[in-house]
Amino acid sequence: MFNKSFIEELLKPQELYSKKALRTIYDRLAHASIMKLNQASMDKLYDLMTMALKYQVLLCPRPKDVLLVTFNHLDTIKGLIQDNPALLHLVDETLRQLIEVYGGLSAGEFQLIRQTLLTFFQDLHIRVSLFLKDKVQNSNGRFVLPVSGPVPWGIEVPGLIRMFDNKGEEVRRVEFPHGGNYVTAPKEGSFEVYGDRVLKLGTNMYSVNRPVETHTSGTSKNLSSQAQQSIAPNPLAKEELNFLAKLMGGMEIKKTSGPEPGFRLNLFTTDEEEEQAALTRPEELSHEVVNIQATQDQQRNQELARIMGEFEVMDQPRWSASKGDDLLAMMDEL
């Protein structure tokens, strides 16, 4: 996935992908490994990814912060592939490319990028259990936009009117009630290859110690910390998604001749439920709750453990030239 020519292709100036095109790429990436996904689970995984990304783009304090969100993603990936220097190098190279392409864009250009990205997510209101529990999403599927907490970097806390005379001297200051509860931004996130991003959007949603993104006043703070304890994610769910990330980091694509050595990822509580979901999936992706809590299924636990025992990290991603070309060619067609 971090293959040089693939990244170069991604970073070429181009129009926003259509929803169909993005879904196809996502399917291909998910299946370019030993992992198998039933259609229904694939749909749910895609919904989760889409809503998480919508949340991140919408809640970005400044339009330029979409870049920091991307850097958070890549920093987290780097944390998972520490023992693979060749792959680390590829990801660092991706970071450098992103900085080169996007680092110099103006605030106005980032505003246009953010507005364009938001057209992709328009009218998607799928409810995600994690977001509902964290109270960052309402039951109608819309995200909470907090009116408290730090203002974005470069913005002043609202509430002040300053008036100047013809010589430019300040002659009067008046405060007005602005309705929010804002404080100054602490510091700016880093746009270098290495650095403190400050922004928490784009970090691992499932890490137990993640900070609550929404800032609340005194009493509600207690409520949200209680809520955090009660939704400590099932460690197996965490393991599965970390494993997924590991897989997409690059590994040998095994051709299966005999019995399937791969493992099947099921995002539902039972196989029957998964089948049922596949049959009843509505046309429009609305009012579905994506539940990412893993099962207690003994069989799957054992299977996962067995595979992780067998797993060998390859030095080089076996992203064969023909496979890469296929993907790029496919993207050209769409």
């Binding site: 100036p13 129009e15 926003l16 259509s18 919408l58 304090p61 339009p63 103006s106 605030a107 106005g108 250009e109 505003q111 246009l112 953010r114 507005q115 364009t116 938001l118 057209t119 328009q122 009218d123 209101h125 309402n138 819309r142 995200f143 909470v144 936009l145 009116v147 203002v151 974005p152 470069g154 913005i155 002043e156 806390v157 609202p158 509430g159 002040l160 009117i161 300053r162 008036m163 100047f164 005379d165 013809n166 430019g168 008046v174 007005f176 009630p177 602005h178 309705g179 929010g180 804002y182």
Partner: protein
Amino acid sequence: MVAADSEGPSDPGVRMFRRQRSIPLRGSAAALSNNLSVLQLPVCNLTHFGVVHGPSAQLLSVAPEGVPLAQRQLHAKEGAGVSSPLITQVHWCALPFRVLLVLTSHRGIQMYESDGSVMVYWHALDSRDASPVQAMFARGIASCGHFICVGMWSGRVLVFDIPAKGPNIVLSEELAGHPTSVTDIASEPAQEQDCMADVVTADDSGLLCVWRSGPEFKLLTRIPGFGVPCTSVQLWKGIAAVGYGNGQVRLYETSTGALHVQINAHARAICALDLAPEVGKLLSAAEDTFVHIWKLSKRTESGCTEPSLPQVEHCHGECVPDTQVCGARFCDPSGSSFAVTGYDLAEILTFSSE
């Protein structure tokens, strides 16, 4: 809903606003700036609303009490390109003898009769100017006398000469004054002797250009930006009211370019400004979910021969919970009612203080 009134200006017409009946939209509003246009028709007691959804825009006519009567959808003209082009803005332009509806997109400029029924003019973006890296689009629409000005991604402002009736619209001039994409244009009828400026154009770098309209537009003043995009601009009695990407509203005297008022008004980028010129009310809306109403006035220092100083008072603040506002307009000339659109919201929210 959080509403905040200031101590109280002397004007009794500015008081508590109440939420009125919402007007449903066929499609949600797109995350753009200035994404609401309102045409008030007091004679027939109707109000027209225009909202951009994406590749289409919706026009609504609404009777009093918010009862929707008719609606129409307009689409961006295709032209060359792969995907459906996105519309950037839709805006009614009131001219001396007619009203035209102007629609700007990533392909060009479309002009319609005011009800959107007939397209009277199409101007395609010049593909010779195309850059492989930059997106091309038209954005920023204002009428001035018998001219309609439209901004471009390149920074140019196209000036169209509009006849009293019929489709014989002519591109009269291309103004060069902006190094980056135009964001918004404002105009007002030329009033007092010393208010010669009647058009202000703004861009992504925050630069403002002040013009006097005519067969040849004349650039009078340039007001430099400060690295933040100007997202919306209004013009009132020679005062430019400007909204920025850092949530500030600034008032400049256009004849001198001097900054007179700086308001830390919002915690996110401002998406729209509107004016009720008869009463000097200004409306600011931003992505921080808030809408604020301000009262502008000009105070003359006694014995002073210099231009009088713009003053501003805060009148009212309204929070639209969990909504990234993208457009806001006054709905009547006295500024006692206003309408708001938000990203992903398939309705127009209305507020009234009457």
